[in-house]
Subunit: 137 residues, 2 copies
DNA sequence: CAGTATCCGCAAAGATACTG
DNA sequence: CAGTATCTTTGCGGATACTG
């Protein structure tokens, strides 16, 4: 159960902002997307796959710190949403390759834009944060 | 936990993607940003403030489903990061207005880009999802 | 190699009550 | 009005062990 499964009355003026309009059920698209891709590992996986299709353990080695379980879970979730395609070659040992779909590549674009913002403003964030913290002492 | 320890086997080549380069501590900027803004409520608050500066309870009414506590927590966090400015007018009853800073407005841009992607592709996601789920039965 | 199956801790979020 | 103070619940993600 989720906090944003709340369908009720008062319509906020969110509708003027693209991507933030509520649908019939009261959800806004960007929240849905963030709920899928805003977790700890999804974006990291997408980015790693953007470079080239990759096999399971190679991916695991690329993404420092991810557990086997979370890689599996994340990949399943992305596959489910049509962002990643899973291809099995029935050799022994089995060979499973993961690749981005068209949809997967397309989301990488706005994500990269956010990435650029992040890279450019991380210092500003850090500065603001320490300013706030010292002022708070 | 260093990201570069196994550069020999599977080079992540993350460094070619803007916003995803690891820093000295092994963090990538976009992860840091998502850790701050990728939570349940931050983006919703930012978007609501993008329209106009808003007072606490008005904000609470705009954002359907947010608890008083989470609004406070979210606003503090955004203020700490320099994305939101808090202005108190010492009247009775007190009047507190929240507004986006320049930094706050600037992040709304890439966020809107992601919002547009979300709005355009939500149906594709939903379709992929139900396709996957029925295939799984 | 590429996964499943469990168990569990911890932090994020919700509910509720109270205050300057 | 604009918060703070607690308490409780939820669920993500880590650790570990086992399999085709």
């Amino acid at each position: 159960m989720n906090a944003r499964t709340n369908a009720s009355a008062a319509a906020p003026m969110l509708d003027s902002h693209p991507g933030f309009e509520r649908d019939e059920e009261g959800n806004c698209p960007i929240r849905e997307v963030l709920d899928r891709v805003g977790d700890t590992w999804s974006l990291l996986v997408i980015i790693n796959l953007q470079a080239a299709p990759t096999r399971f353990n190679a991916l695991k080695r690329s993404i420092e710190g991810i557990s086997q379980r979370m890689l599996t879970v994340t990949l399943r979730s992305l596959e489910r949403d049509g962002l990643v395609r899973r291809t099995v070659r029935p050799t022994t040992p089995p060979e499973v390759e993961y690749a981005l779909t068209e949809l997967g590549h397309s989301i990488a674009v706005p994500v990269a834009a956010l990435g650029i913002w992040a890279a450019r403003n991380r210092d500003a964030l850090k500065a603001a944060r320490s300013r706030f913290d010292t002022g708070q002492l």
